[in-house]
């Protein structure tokens, strides 16, 4: 038996951790491009903010897109609810709320993650030590995930934690693709163009997939190949198909455990089937942007359905 509040706390704890990680990864990709692109770097910082889904909030505070304010806003700004520091604080606060559902290893990992980042991000981060800080974020969040895998029972606690992770990840991947979908369209593919290659690189790096993509495709980077890799390749742990297969798996575990299926089960299956059933050609024919918009909306609907089906709130 589990409290609805506890299920919600676990779900959001792991969503927040995933979000912090994604923001850090995105920042790293943008920063690398900015470094290698010379004068066109400024444009890239704007793209990072937009991809992170923080543009509206950013513009309320800043007029220009430059390294220092963007880094600060994404990593540690208190006014940015999705900054890494705020995400980790929320995760830890959720962790405290569901303390009794966590193994001491998981709790200590998230508490230490928070303590380490709070102290690391106490002062503005310069470009000079950005890499080191991003590494800390990656490392600390991995420890939490590792503790989850190594010490937690595979029961409903685990299922809700994983649902939080994969819903956030699916949303993140769909957003990254949607912000840049135009550079993947056939009409925009100037073969061999330097600009597009750089944009593709950002996409792949934002999801930590540059190496694996090259490894799988032997260095042959095509827009269609990238879209296919990130949407329907089930080997890729950040692809939509992979995320949805995990979402379905965890929802099914809950159905087995509780002996009851809900609307969220049906919706997840429907989305999962669509991702399994389609080829990349079809997606391009129907419109990549439309496909991604649907994916983002479906994911949001599913998240709210899960919250009501499992009584996260009153």
């Amino acid at each position: 038996m589990m409290l609805g509040k506890t299920a919600g706390g676990l779900f959001w704890m792991f969503r927040n951790i995933e979000r912090a990680e994604n923001t850090a990864r995105l920042l790293e990709a943008g920063w690398r491009i900015a470094l290698t692109r010379g004068d066109e770097g400024t444009n890239e910082w704007q793209s990072v903010v937009i991809t992170a889904g923080m543009d509206v909030a950013y513009r309320q505070k800043h007029d220009v897109y430059e390294a220092a304010p963007v880094i600060d806003f994404l990593l540690r700004d208190k006014d940015n609810p999705s900054s890494v520091l705020n995400s980790i604080e929320s995760a830890r606060s959720n962790g405290r709320m569901v303390r009794t559902a966590l193994s001491s290893e998981v709790w200590e990992a998230v508490n230490e993650c928070w303590m380490a980042l709070k102290s690391a991000l106490a002062r503005p981060v310069s470009e000079r030590n950005l890499y080191e800080h991003l590494a800390t974020i990656r490392y600390r969040t991995s420890v939490v995930r590792g503790a989850l895998h190594g010490t937690m029972l595979r029961n409903d606690i685990f299922a809700f934690s994983r649902l939080g992770t994969f819903l956030e990840r699916a949303d993140n991947t769909a957003r990254i693709l949607d912000v840049k979908y135009y550079v993947l369209l056939p009409s925009a593919a100037f073969v061999g163009s330097h600009i597009d290659n750089a944009q593709w690189e950002v996409i792949l790096r934002s999801v930590s997939a540059a190496r694996s993509f090259r490894w799988l495709n032997g260095g042959d980077i095509t827009p269609k190949g990238i879209a296919e890799f990130l949407i329907i390749d089930k080997r890729m742990p950040r692809s939509l198909a992979f995320c949805y297969s995990k979402i379905c798996e965890n929802l099914n575990d809950l159905a087995d455990d509780y002996g009851q299926r809900h609307g969220s089960h049906d919706l997840a299956e429907t989305i999962g089937r669509r991702l399994r059933g389609c080829g990349i050609e079809e997606i391009f024919d129907e419109g990549l942007h439309e496909f991604l918009t649907n994916a983002i909306n479906d994911t949001a609907t599913l998240a709210s359905l899960i919250q009501t089906d499992f009584r996260f709130f009153q």
């Binding site: 409290l3 509040k5 405290r96 009794t100 303590m115 009584r311 009153q314």
Partner: protein
């Protein structure tokens, strides 16, 4: 008792000679390197931070979570000393439960003239809503924390009977855990009685008081005001250790005549609620209508036998400071025995003679608010300035019945580890007592609070106190 008498140090007689319970520890300590021990001490602090034993300070909304300082020198009590305390506490706790039953029923003790009626009738801690209630199993105070101080070889006094929601037991358990990790060799050498069974006994104690409505294995839950409460760590810790759910107000509602928690699969009735929410906030339908921390209707379900609330509402009347001075009479009335544990002599400022004496001796006395707690709103005469005493005198004259006064006891000292080595500091002791329908369990040990400032007698964590592990020897 008198000021001239030297303070009793629990470890040493004179400068060098350890008392018997400390002899093994003292030998071990003499061979240790001070620097090593100091390093261990900071490791302990890092450990506490990592596991999150922190508390939030009242009135400091934005302040960081703080640690209660932990001292690595244990406080050691011999088995013989403990058995006297144990008998005394057992007797006192039985008397308190009998008193609570009586005071919410026929009030025989008042009819018999053993305590004045006014002490109850004019007391806000008396809860009329509890009149006529027979709590399941007959237990009112499932958990008691009796505060004791020591002044000499065989002199222990009860300072306070915490019969509402005593806190601090998580420190008893985590302090021991830390000591076991840091000094396994000491535990191998000395026979220290374990405290680790507390959570299991707590669960059993609570389950044994399940209400008539229970079907099957009793469902136990811990009610916390939430993650911002200063004792949240302890609430989560106890729920975790007992395998009980940790619930907040918004997880609960009345369903089918029971108090139920909202789970991922629907509502689950709760049989026993270990609540860490004060009476006044427990039920906005019956008590404070503005409370956001309670469960509307829980008192109705309670009276109807649908849930056990631990501790029962209204137990505050038993640990009220106005009643404290009558405890020896209360013990005698209900047990037929002389009280084993001594009460600190107390002047009731509501009585004219006492008030006059207290006003004349403010600089020597400790004056406490009858309903205060946590060391707030009290005057420690010997430590107060003339100005503070004058200000307090004004308050005392305005509402004498709001105060009691006691002599400043020469609290015993136990050494703490300082930069320069061991240094004596004043301590008190809070053993934890679990009451079941047929038994009373007193965990051998408890929370030793220590005033870290040299000479200070205030041990409260909110005012610069720390804690120590308490060892009861199995001799």
């Amino acid at each position: 008792m008198s000021k001239s008498r030297p303070t009793f140090d629990e470890m040493l007689v004179g400068e060098e000679t350890p008392r018997p319970p400390y002899s093994a520890y003292h030998r071990w300590f003499s061979n240790e390197d001070l620097k090593d021990l100091r390093r261990k001490s900071s490791e302990a602090e890092a450990f506490f931070r990592r596991i999150g034993i922190t508390f939030n300070v009242y009135g400091q909304a934005d302040a960081d979570e703080r640690l209660i300082p932990f001292d690595i020198v244990p406080r050691i009590i011999s088995g013989r000393e403990w058995s006297v305390l144990e008998r005394g506490i057992d007797q006192r706790v039985r008397a308190i439960n009998a008193f609570l039953h009586d005071i919410y029923h026929r009030q025989e003790i008042i009819r018999a003239g053993r305590i004045p009626k006014e002490i109850i009738s004019k007391n806000d801690a008396f809860l009329p809503e509890m009149i006529g209630v027979n709590p399941p199993g007959g237990v009112y105070t499932h958990i008691v924390g009796t505060d004791l101080v020591r002044t000499g070889e065989n002199e222990f006094y009860v300072l306070e009977d915490n019969a509402r929601t005593p806190s601090g037991v998580s420190y008893m358990l985590e302090n021991r855990e830390t000591m076991l990790q840091m000094f396994p060799e000491l535990f191998a050498q000395m026979k220290v009685r374990p405290v680790s069974s507390y959570p299991r006994l707590l669960r059993r104690s609570l389950a044994d008081c399940a209400p008539p409505a229970t079907s099957g294995r009793p469902v136990v839950a811990v009610l916390t005001p939430g993650i911002h409460n200063s004792a949240y760590f302890e609430h989560a810790f106890l729920a975790d250790q007992m395998g009980a759910e940790l619930v907040e107000s918004h997880d609960l509602s009345i369903e089918n005549g029971r108090v139920a928690m909202r789970t991922t699969q629907g509502f689950q009735a709760i049989d026993v609620l270990y609540r860490r929410v004060d009476d006044d906030y427990l039920d906005p339908l019956t008590f404070n209508p503005d409370s956001m921390l309670g469960v509307p209707g829980i008192m109705d379900v309670y009276r109807a036998g649908g849930i056990t609330i631990a501790n029962a509402p209204g137990t505050g009347i038993a640990d009220d400071k106005a009643l404290y001075s009558y405890m020896p009479d209360i013990v005698e009335f209900y047990t037929g025995e002389q009280a084993i544990l001594k009460n600190v002599p107390t002047w009731r400022c509501s009585e004219a003679d006492s008030l006059a004496y207290v006003l004349d001796h403010l600089s020597e006395l400790v004056v406490k608010e009858v309903h205060g707690s946590g060391g707030y709103g009290m005057l420690v005469g010997p430590a107060a300035s003339k100005k503070e005493i004058a200000a307090f005198e004004k308050k005392l004259r305005a509402r004498p019945s709001n105060y009691i006064a006691q002599p400043t006891l020469a609290l015993s000292t136990v050494p703490i580890l300082t930069k320069a080595g061991l240094a004596p500091r004043h301590v008190d002791l809070r053993p934890f007592v679990l009451v079941s329908p047929n038994r009373i369990d007193i965990t051998p040990g408890g929370l030793t609070r220590v005033a870290l400032k040299k000479g200070s007698l205030v041990v409260n964590s909110s005012q610069g106190g720390g804690t120590k592990d308490t060892w009861v020897l199995g001799d």
